[in-house]
């Protein structure tokens, strides 16, 4: 058995507290769960970006989305990726996390000691997000949404080909294809991944749900190319049902909203679709394994490549990954207290 489990120490550069991850040297919180004086927000997802804090710090390329979600009036300071900001005793810089457009990892350096907080991240290619950058550190605070070795992502280009085949089968059967993925991030990734496959000439119209459409402009501003799309309104549904591909948030599945499209086939794009039981529970017709989070192999690679000696895991069921890192890799690994969501 390994030595007594490592714990969180007072000398740590980041300390979990009731508000979230606190950085004492800079007197700020990363992705705080309640309003704080200074919040560093890794990305715009609701479990990371919450309103009510006095000042916000975020990556420049994610700023527009943050304003859309938290309000134009927030006090927001932005940082380019790689730019260093001295806050108190800490040198702080942001680095692409590859999770969604503008998602950042946080590098904190105090007196030569380096901690990296990954936020949500993935290491797979995604044409709608800046690619993940590996940042060496002594302490790694990593997300662990998919902390079991059964979660291993297939090549996304193969998944997109599956999506196209499914759309084609549905068109042949006269069914509308409703593809569900998070309104911010996954939906835009799906669209941007279709661009090189379809060009400007999709075989049938692509319609987007309002919640997805609202977030397209910041992506276009950032130079991300989408195939031509239309809004998924009543008129468009009447004109294109039986053929169209509709990109919608998961919450739209199984609601009366889908009725206007006639017979439909519902697909879900998510890492959870890797498991048959989950696919069936989702009550969709198809599951596509496409995740914006790191998979098991990606997590283990990241731990190794950063050279971290200590690993703090958060954001998921981390028990198995912690035990694996301790017993199989001999690293000091800890599960951060679980947040209430």
């Amino acid at each position: 058995m390994p030595s007594p489990p490592p714990t969180i120490r007072p000398t740590d550069l980041v300390v979990p507290d009731a508000g979230g991850l606190f950085v004492p040297a800079a007197d700020l919180w990363i992705d705080p769960r309640r309003p704080v004086p200074r919040a560093l927000v890794t990305h715009g997802h609701a479990d990371h970006a919450r309103s009510g804090s006095e000042h916000y710090l975020a990556a420049a390329s994610g700023a527009e989305i943050l304003r859309l979600r938290l309000g134009r009036e927030i006090s927001l300071q932005t940082l380019e990726f790689g730019e260093v900001l001295q806050v108190g005793d800490a040198r702080i810089s942001l680095h692409p996390a590859g999770h969604v457009l503008g998602s950042a990892q946080v590098r904190i350096e105090v007196g030569g000691d380096v901690t990296v907080v990954t936020g949500d991240y993935k290491r797979q290619p995604d044409p709608s997000a800046e690619p993940f950058e590996l940042v060496p550190c002594r302490t790694l605070v990593s997300e662990c949404t998919f902390g079991l070795p059964v979660y291993r992502w297939p090549d996304p280009s193969g998944v997109m080909e599956e999506v196209l085949r499914w759309w084609e089968e549905n068109r042949e059967a006269g069914r509308t294809s409703i593809l569900c993925g998070y309104a911010f991030g996954k939906a835009q990734r799906l669209l941007a991944s279709l661009t090189p496959l379809l060009g400007d000439d999709p075989p049938a119209p692509i319609l987007v749900h309002g919640a997805v459409e609202r977030l397209l402009p910041p992506y276009r501003q950032a130079g991300i190319h989408f195939p031509p799309t239309d809004k998924a309104g009543v008129e468009e549904a009447r004109a294109h049902k039986g053929r169209a591909l509709v990109i919608a948030p998961p919450s739209a599945a199984g609601t009366p909203w889908t009725r206007k499209f006639g017979p439909v086939s519902v697909g879900f794009a998510s890492g959870w679709m890797r498991v048959r039981g989950m696919r069936r529970r989702r009550a969709g017709d198809r599951g596509f394994v496409l995740s914006d989070h790191v998979d098991w192999d990606g997590l283990m690679d990241t731990v190794e490549e950063t050279g971290a000696e200590r690993v703090l895991l958060t954001h998921g069921a981390a028990t198995a990954a912690v035990r694996f890192l301790r017993e199989e890799r001999g690293l000091a690994a800890v599960e951060l207290p679980r947040e209430d969501r």
Binding site: V150, G277, R281, R323, F324, E327
Partner: protein
Amino acid sequence: MKRFVRLFVELDRTTRTTEKVAALERYFAAVPPADAAWATSVLMGRRVKRAAGTGQLREWVAEASGTPLWLVEESYDAVGDLAETLALLLPPPGPDAPPPPPLHRVMEDWILPLPELDDEATREVVETAWRHLDETERLVFHKLLTGGFRVGVGKKLVTRALAAHAGMDPAVLAHRLTGPWSPDPDTFRTLVDPDADLPDAGRPYPFLLAHPLQLDPLEPEGARELGPVSDWIVEWKWDGIRAQLIRRDEEVLLWSRGEEVVTPAFPEIEEAARLLPPGTVLDGELLAVGDDRPLPFAELQRRLGRKRVGPKILRDVPVKLLAWDLLEDGGRDARALPQAERRGALEALFRNLPERGIPLALSREVDAPDWEALARLREGARDRGVEGFMLKRRDAPYGAGRERGTWWKWKVDPLTLDAVLMYAQRGHGRRASLYTDYTFGVWDGDDLVPVGKAYSGLTDKEIRETDRWIRRHIVEKFGPVRSVEPGLVFELAFDSIRRSSRHRSGVALRFPRMARRRPDKAPAEADTLARVRALLPPAEGHGPAGPGDG
């Protein structure tokens, strides 16, 4: 194998019966008889000899994937399906992987020889298979290997699709597929040949199953649906094993509902069957009886599955076949005749048999002028050691499988008790990510003692809510089992209760299920073991007990 795996994926993707049947039909149209034979066999749930232990398989997967064994278990716990977990853990096959062989080669070259091989040789075969197969193919292979193949299609759907494909009457095909047949191409071609003249000796008819009666005949709606009691043949429902006794030519065979031949376990029935005229098939309930009262089901189980029975057990557990239907009379299939006519022929048959001293008896009709009188009789069912009534529509033929409305089980109202949730475990398949399997306890002083497990009776919404509560109140983990704080009270319904030395509580419940949640009750208000024990039948009486085929 590729085509069969595609069928598996198609069946797995849909819950609609018509789509499943269509997928099966496409499959049967696309593959040669050698593969169709095996697919039919496997999809109908026929088992081959268990080829490899799941323990070995876990170890080999652990080594091949560099996953410690405990992590294989953790993964299984989250995925809920062992064959799938192992497939997900294995490293993907190389780009130059050889193509998988067809299904019949997988079965005949890889799986069937395994029981004869030692561990090392078995492992070699399994690893060879992995090299040929991709992830989904491995999943299917693991299911074939461990003998648990369930994809939500039963005999009925397979029969329907195959009959449509072959242009046959489904009832004829169902009959042919009942009982043993070898999954080789020649046999299969004959089975699905509408013009084939198959010898039927020894083959049972598909059992007509009874449904639990949900209507109350004393309520207007139930009375309207069922009509007058005189439309029905009413018999006591005993707790035994459903069986078919076949007497054709020189052959006597006793089949259980699981479609297994159980003749060797019941030599006295085999002997008595020789008194029947050749060309007779009886349907009935096999019971263990002592002094004209049924013995607990567990006693009957002591005889079941034996290849040889000694004089002691023959004496200790005497059995009787209570005949309640006649399916073949004078060598002719009688199933199309109305129930009442079949009953008449059955009675005539028994008039020619000795009344006593043989283990064959006629199931008596219960006479009652109306439903009220019947309901009063039913209240005494528990004291008689029966489960309730069987209702059989007088004018109905003997259908195949689960046709609704011909035969009903009208069981006595369940017993209930209020119990506290003690342990939870994740479900399987569709419910793998939720805690759905619960163990309940009652108070013995200050301690909770487990009295039963239940995993049905809640709505999906209630399951999700209970799951959420469980996650917040876990106290300890034992493998996949989580103990929770005593906080939730449920009303459990069950059919009967018996003494059991195997359980700490000293009792065993039969068919426990969750009747409802009792958020109004504090855990301390749940029932005590003393009150539960008070429900036990008197020590000398032989109440119905143990798991039966219902």
